[in-house]
Symmetry: C2
Subunit: 362 residues, 2 copies
DNA sequence: TCTGTAGAGGAAACCGGTGTCATATTCAAC
DNA sequence: GTTGAATATGACACCGGTTTCCTCTACAGA
């Protein structure tokens, strides 16, 4: 190092300390000035351009670290014409589902500088599409993630494609369009529940379906019927009643089913909320679970372990699905709409607890 | 209207239609050009400056409406040195609590152009403060809302004040500093529960407290003790056990209390989760609710209505609190840290269901 | 008629980054 | 010692708004 270089280095160190004392948040210009390069070079370093000499990069990085420099996201976003925000558009009535999904997305996003903006919505609102469009366009979202049942809204998917907003849909069935999607095999989950009940010896088994507007309702029903068929049983149309994925609707459906003669000895519910409702109906009608009635739920939501007896249910890896969806989005693979993702990790699994037993009289 | 004015109007109409056909998203420059003013005037209109002639405003607004112009939030944010995002920093283990709070905040924010960014966190993580700081500074958050128990972290509050990020704390007790806060009177809620049990005739009453790290635990305990005192009863230190606001801890605490001789005839729990746990413990020990044991919870979470028998509990207007917090933030009153908000609307209320009855033998 | 003043509006710089394109440096090959 | 490509860097315009400062107009009062 020559004398003049040494002097320059000392001078810049002094300038750096001066700046630190000022307490101001550094901008790219400060970094450039203090490390003796142009701001374009700093920009290159931030954006991991390979066209920067290692020596230069080190010198600049030292200043960046010393000042804990963080690029301004708004300025960056303005230039890039997009933000660093991921939107979660949801209408799922289960709090636990949404929280798990949020958590999963944040697992994937942690440390990347991206953040999660939540947007509950109501598909039946006539302004729904306009509302979502305004949300996405105003915030120039990097991408959106949609769990069921918004994920099943084709008009929304089309809108997002039109305004070129990358999206990942989370669904229980692979939809038609060739796009990014996280799929759980609800058919298999429901079939497993069916086999479990059939193996216990149940013959008269009913199904409390979710609303027909959810694809998952059809998937679970068909999977359940297929599972029963394997065991030589049949799910008659008559044995299916429709609820709304809510506790109250579960009470009603359960009460209706238990009044029938002969009554079913086992009930499979489209989700745990409705299963809890069936518990209530059974108790009101004087039946004891599982002695008089076996019940199986779906989701493995926290309520499943809290009711008595603990509910046998099908566990859905919701957090994992959220994580995968966000990873897919961040990987950028979505931008080209390059095909769907059907990851083996997101397979549902039966969790046997104490709400199922052999039917009485066996 | 003179001939030349008419001609000019026609020309501008034509230009406007041309633009509409282009399909581009309009910028402030487009609006200015098409309405024949400078972009500064458009900016004045966006920001509701009074120094614009009504006639000019109307002319510009017509163009804005025709083109469905939305100002770019990043550009605006860049100039304003802040974003239009509200952060929700939470660590509450109850999914329903968080979802309700989100919903309440979004109720208040709807239509304002602001959005909600969620940020779960872990107070026990040593990087917690650094993490939150990066979150707030990177996104230049407009403000943050903190429900318990993050709201009770003084170090965090101090950090936010230091980096001049407006915040609203939601807490069960009015804290020391003179700042924006939404307070529920947990003391009153717990006292009401106490009076309810005392009026039924219970004498030996136990309290399952939440962790001591939550202020609400102390508030609820003290309020409960005060309510009992009104009725001439005393809450002995011995009658208080400590859980973790979780179902499992409720099971343990319940089991421990029910083994005592004489055992309590009623148990008040710091939240519904733990009450559900006490249900489980009671069942395991062969006691029937409410015949052998009365139970009261706190929060009125969805699980309260789903367990059997439906749980008597204290309802907390969580969504309402979220709404108030966001309104407070948006009103800007927070910026000057102008005193706390103790709104009468957020008073807890006892919801009597079927888990409480007169003690046996009366 | 000549101010003085307040309302209305515009020009240019700025917020903090990026893109484009031109230029400077390095190093292998002739 | 050139030459030429590949690498490395910088100047400057630009993203879409806001702020500062200045001009212009209209109108009340002298």
């Amino acid at each position: 190092m020559t004398e003049s270089e040494k002097a320059a280095a000392e001078a810049s160190d002094a300038a750096l300390e001066d700046f630190q004392r000022s307490g101001r948040r550094p901008t790219i210009n400060d970094i450039a000035r203090l490390s003796g390069v142009s701001k374009k070079t700093v920009s290159r370093i931030i954006n991991l351009s390979p066209f920067v000499k290692d020596e230069t990069r080190e010198r600049v990085m030292k200043v960046i670290d010393a000042l804990a420099y963080m690029p301004d996201l708004q300025a960056r976003g303005l230039a890039f014409r997009r933000s660093f925000l991921i939107g979660l558009i949801y209408n799922n009535p289960s709090a636990q589902y949404v929280i798990d999904m949020q958590q999963g997305i944040l697992d994937a996003v942690r440390g990347s500088g991206y953040e999660l903006v939540v947007h509950p919505c109501d598909l039946s609102n006539p302004n729904f599409l306009k509302d979502v469009r305004a949300f996405v366009e105003r915030q120039k979202l990097f991408g959106v993630i949609m769990p069921p049942s918004v994920s099943e809204d084709e008009a929304l998917a089309q809108l997002l494609a039109e305004i070129e907003c990358p999206y990942v849909r989370i669904a229980s069935v692979s939809l038609d369009r060739n796009e990014a999607m996280i799929v759980t095999n609800d058919r298999n989950g429901a079939a497993e529940a069916a086999r479990h009940l059939a193996d216990l010896g149940h013959k008269r088994i009913a199904f409390v379906s979710g609303p027909t507007s959810f694809r998952s309702s059809h998937e679970r029903r068909e999977g359940f019927a297929a599972g029963l068929a394997e065991k030589g049983l049949k799910l008659a149309a008559d044995d299916v009643v429709f609820g709304a994925y809510t506790f109250e609707s579960g009470v009603e459906c359960g009460a209706a089913l238990l009044k029938r003669k002969p009554r079913p000895t086992a009930i499979f519910c489209g989700n745990d909320e409705m299963a809890a409702g069936v518990y209530r109906a059974a108790r009101d009608a004087g039946f004891e679970i599982p002695r008089d009635l076996s019940v199986v739920g779906y989701d493995d939501s926290p309520v499943a372990a809290k009711v008595w007896p603990p509910l046998t249910t099908v566990k859905l890896p919701i957090r994992e699905m959220g994580r995968l969806a966000a990873e897919k989005l961040l990987s950028g693979a979505v931008e080209g709409f390059t095909g769907r993702v059907i990851d083996a990790k997101v397979a549902p699994a039966l969790v046997v607890r104490e709400s199922t037993a052999k039917p009485a009289g066996r």
